[in-house]
């Protein structure tokens, strides 16, 4: 099972656990319709498209409504604490949730009890809480953007908003941010850093950079990073190794951007529509 975990911006939406499906209007989780938005919905849609592309089962979503008041996020943490071992997740992606150090540590303690630990990808709030708790070693892949890479590089910060200025200003030197993140044990074995140049890292080394096509107007568009996280999730579930998954996802994201001809006002739905064609193109380009 590919388990996709995160909060959605619908206040009072109860916890839902069920198959994720998508259509032109949006996605459904356990039959409940959700509009495509940046964040968890974009990530889940991207993962769905990728799973369909690779002919594997659709993901299972574990979502709850949370507009920042914590209740939905707490329901998610508590469900994982109680039920994760019986869910049979092979790959689990943890995404937008309100960081909660104590509850996340309880989730990790539950994982410690499992005979078969799922491969774990974290981005957004789930990555923040993992790093803040000193628990990055539990996870297989992080997918930070540049601001988040600076946060991972700062061993004192427990949220990107607390990244110290001298590290924030190191963003022209991404390899140094990567070095610091690994030196502080705040990085994952495989890591994808999203930016004007994407960096793919393995065990502390930069093993690939992705520069083309360069679509500058992708940066202001909310949700483009979520597409990468979703694709990596689907690819891992389809049996692709983490490093190759990062290579494919980074290139497909740029290809989808190019196909959608975005402006800074473009919304992520328009890029998502181009994702199947982008995956085809990348497969052809990489000779897969």
């Amino acid at each position: 099972m590919l388990l996709l975990v995160g909060a959605v911006p619908v206040e009072d939406l109860p916890l839902l656990v069920g198959p994720v499906a998508y259509n032109e209007k949006g996605i459904t989780v356990d039959g409940y319709e959700l509009a495509i938005n940046r964040g968890n919905e974009a990530m889940m849609t991207s993962a769905c498209i990728t799973c369909r592309h690779y002919g594997v089962d659709a993901p299972i979503g574990l979502v709850a409504g949370d507009i920042g008041k914590r209740k939905g996020s707490e329901a998610i943490y508590n469900y994982l604490i109680e039920h994760l071992p019986e869910m049979g997740a092979k790959v689990m992606t943890l995404h937008y949730v309100m960081p909660d150090l104590k509850l996340n540590k309880k989730v990790l303690a539950t994982i410690d009890t499992m005979e078969h630990k799922p491969m774990m990808i974290a981005d957004a709030g789930s990555m923040y809480v993992a790093k803040a708790g000193g628990d990055s070693h539990y996870y297989d892949v992080f997918t930070p953007d540049l601001g988040e890479a600076a946060f991972l590089a700062d061993d004192k910060a427990d949220h990107p908003s607390f990244t110290r200025g001298f590290i924030f200003n190191m963003e022209e030197d991404v390899p140094e941010l990567i070095r610091r993140a690994y030196a502080g044990n705040n990085a994952t074995k495989t890591m994808f850093i999203k930016g004007a140049v994407d960096y793919v890292c393995q065990d502390g080394e930069i093993v690939d950079t992705i520069r083309e096509p360069s679509i500058e107007t992708m940066e202001p568009i909310g949700g483009t990073g979520d597409l990468i996280t979703g694709m990596i999730s689907g690819l891992l579930y389809a049996g692709v190794d983490p490093l190759q998954a990062c290579r494919i996802a980074g290139r497909a994201n740029r290809a989808a951007g190019e196909l959608s001809q975005p402006t800074p006002a473009t919304q992520v739905q328009e890029i998502l529509r181009c994702l199947p064609r982008a995956l085809d193109k990348v497969h052809k380009d990489l000779g897969l």
Binding site: G68, M98, P99, G147, R164, N169, P220, I221
Partner: protein, 183 residues
Amino acid sequence: MNWFKKKEKPSQEENDSHAVTRGLLVFAHPTTVIDVEQILREEGYEIRVVSPPPSYRTGCDLSVEFPLEAEAAITELLNNSNLTPLDVVPITSKGMEPLQFVRKKWYGKYLMVRAANMKITVDTETKIIVNISGGGCPDVPYLATALIGKHINEAPDLTEVGFSLCAYSLNTAREELVREIGA
């Protein structure tokens, strides 16, 4: 015997353990701190917006450090402003301050401003917010829905609709945007 032996300067730790002169106002949501900061600064208090000590941390928190001798006056002021803190505690260690640096990038008529991990983009001709990107707390997608398509003057106040540190950073970016292009 050296009668004039220089008295050893106490270490920082000793200083911290003996002189508790600062307190911390703890709130339920980081964005509440935006209003608290404004009120206390306007009243002339020397305050710092900081991360709370580890025992109070959840991973998404912001609090206000203040001179402890002003506790009674400050708590009364905040109570009267409906900004009552969850807790008021004395502190001995310094918290980290949130990042105030911003970066700006122009895309023709569009301007993107980034603070920490949050980006806001506006069409500078119409002053309509066209995109919000970055962040990881669950109010970010909600805030994007609430703000995108709105004139920068008409968009909801982030202290009312946001709850997280990401919302705090988004507010920092938005304030810079207003400074740059005007309201």
